[in-house]
Amino acid sequence: MPRQNLTVTDTIEELSILDDLGNLDKDLEPQIADEQLLKIYRTMLLARRFDERMLDLQRQGRIGTFPPIKGQEAAQLGAIVHLLPDDWFVQAFREVAAELWRGRSMESILLYFNGFNEGAILPEGQRDLPLSIPVGSQVLHAVGLGWAANYRQKKEVVMAFFGDGATSQGDFHEGLNFAAVYQTPTVFVCQNNGWAISTTVKQQTHTPTLVQKALAYGMPGIRVDGNDILAVYAAAGEAVERARNGGGPTFIECVTYRLMMHTTADDPKRYRTDEEVETWKKRDPLPRFTNYLLNKGTATAQSLDDLEAQVLQEIQTAVERAEAQMKELSDPLAMFDHLYAELPPYLARQKSDLAEEIAANGKEVQHG
């Protein structure tokens, strides 16, 4: 003072390691065991093929609306692979790759997107939250989980995913502020895929980056090429370590792209050009990862072909299992289960009324 520029103490960074031309920055290359690399690659391939298969199923009317993830696999896997079983995974609704890594079955995903509540059941004790469709709202749950982990003096980390659009929500702001105030072990992974349905990031915020929003919370932030599995891996690894060791929250902006429609109910041609999509296809994380493994000698053309065949078979089996299961899951009365720990009397009456209705009409009712 009297008049001077204020300098902000926290720093925000940018990171890229394996660019879209295949150039690798050796100094920054994270050391990942071959086995782990292959496991990550396998999940990426599975997520990609499963996503493609779900689109077919949806087009054939065999499942309902769902949000494809194509193009965002690296942003999800580079981050999620750092979580331990006791860590918490808090998702938005476009994290199928991360979900598969965490062990959610393709069957349950298919059940969910074909309108069966059973599809939201998680394996007992699994520390994952189900999809959170209300944009940004899950950010706050991740903060509460992180606070609780600190309270229990557990070295557990919570990783929360959300999109670029979510950064405009009040819950995002309140969540990052609380996380910083309470120094919760929360890693905020923003998948900036360029679009919120038909809305661009430019329309979403006046700032050139999303990562700089971390400065409003006194939180470290890093912006990475989200289609570069190595960059996401490195940045998320540091953030998870920081969180696990009491260093508090980190904001990671993964710059990626949604190659497909917002959901199967959406028509991207209304709001974006094929050219834009084509340029981003060149930055597709999957071939980039493939070439890295081939150059590194971690995989061969042959081994990748075998993997492809395995993955497709797995998906086929899952689809068959899921469709068989669905036939068994028709009981409408199940909708009364688990609203409360105990069914209140008036709900019990409504349940028996519905039982009568079903008995009287069988599977057939009209809604005009």
Binding site: N117, G119, S198, A265, R270, A360, H367
Partner: protein
């Protein structure tokens, strides 16, 4: 007259009001270039430009709060919650401010805004996309709550809502968006907010419904005539709040029996108020308890089971027969 879906009819109302009145501004998520996820605002950004149709950032409280400011200034914002299940994000803006400002300022300021939101089941949607919680708004003094039941009255009510001097919550039944077409006159048409309509005359039973429940209710009425020779009178509320209880009470004094139908959960739902108004207005004419045919007191299940949540023709007919002691 052109035959239109409800989506087209709503689009016509918006387009004509915007052409007529430069105070009318549309804002919301994806209402511009995309034309809204249900295409209700399709093409309007091309006709009226980015300055009349705003693709906003993703924040419902801001969409509603900014609309309040625009309305205070003298504009007529028509904002959208992409689905009614996400309108709760701006509930505080509506309750704390939009509903109160005229009263707080003793008439100096007002908030002539419309909040549009698709509601209800029937389109195999994901979670949070099929709720019917109009009672939250209806229980909020200072707000008006409107739910059309078809293309023609949707168009007329939307025009009235835009011109209304007070904030209007306007729920649009997704199940009706493209369900059928109806003649909608090109020339201007409005409907008074706060007035219900008798859409089917009858002497034996009064049926009260609104929105997407009108069609199954009318079918049930036909079924009752066909199989039981019962003549049911059907009342379409159109406005949930301020609730018009005059026609329903009149009808009940004639029929002595009533069935109320809605998709919302039963407990503390709109049907409870209707039952109470009928009892207050026509108790001594009542020959049987008034039946409530509603959604269950549950979260609407994922779509594979949805048809067992939303009232069906069969559920309505069964309740009616019960009421008629048939």
């Amino acid at each position: 007259m052109a035959k239109m879906t409800m989506v087209q009819a709503l689009n016509l109302a918006l387009q004509q009001e915007m052409a007529k009145d430069d105070r009318v501004i549309l804002l919301g998520e994806d209402v511009g270039v995309d034309g809204g996820v249900f295409r209700v605002t399709d093409g309007l950004i091309d006709t009226f430009g980015k300055n009349r149709v705003l693709d906003t950032p993703l924040a419902e409280s801001a969409i509603a709060g900014m609309s309040i400011g625009m309305a205070i200034y003298g504009l007529r914002p028509v904002c959208e919650a992409q689905f009614s299940g996400f309108s709760y994000h701006c509930f505080h803006q509506l309750e704390n401010h939009a509903a109160r400002l005229r009263w707080r300022s003793q008439g100096r300021l007002s908030v002539p805004m419309v909040l549009r939101a698709p509601y209800g089941g029937g389109v195999r949607a994901l979670e949070h996309h099929s709720e019917s919680r109009e009672a939250y708004w209806a229980h909020t003094p200072g707000l008006k709550m409107v739910i059309p039941s078809g293309p023609r009255n949707a168009r007329a009510l939307m025009v009235s809502a835009i011109r209304d001097p007070d904030p209007v919550i306007f729920y649009e039944a997704k199940a009706l968006y493209r369900a059928y077409r109806e003649e909608v006159p090109e020339e201007e048409e409005t409907l008074p907010i706060g007035q219900s309509q008798v859409i089917r005359e009858g002497k034996d039973l009064t049926m009260i419904a609104y929105g997407a429940m009108i069609r199954p209710t009318l079918e049930a009425a036909e079924e009752l005539r066909a199989s039981d020779g019962v003549e049911a009178e059907v009342i379409d509320l159109l406005t949930i709040s301020p609730l018009d209880d005059s026609l329903m009470v009149q009808s009940l004094t004639k029929t002595g029996r009533a069935v109320v139908v809605h998709e919302a959960p039963r407990s503390f739902g709109p049907g409870a108020e209707i039952v109470s108004r009928l009892m207050e207005g026509a108790f001594f004419y009542l020959q049987a308890p008034i039946a409530r045919v509603t959604g269950h007191d549950l979260i609407i299940p994922y779509f594979s089971r949805e048809k067992w949540f939303v009232p069906s023709v069969q559920r309505i007919v069964a309740a009616a027969r019960n009421t008629l002691a048939l």
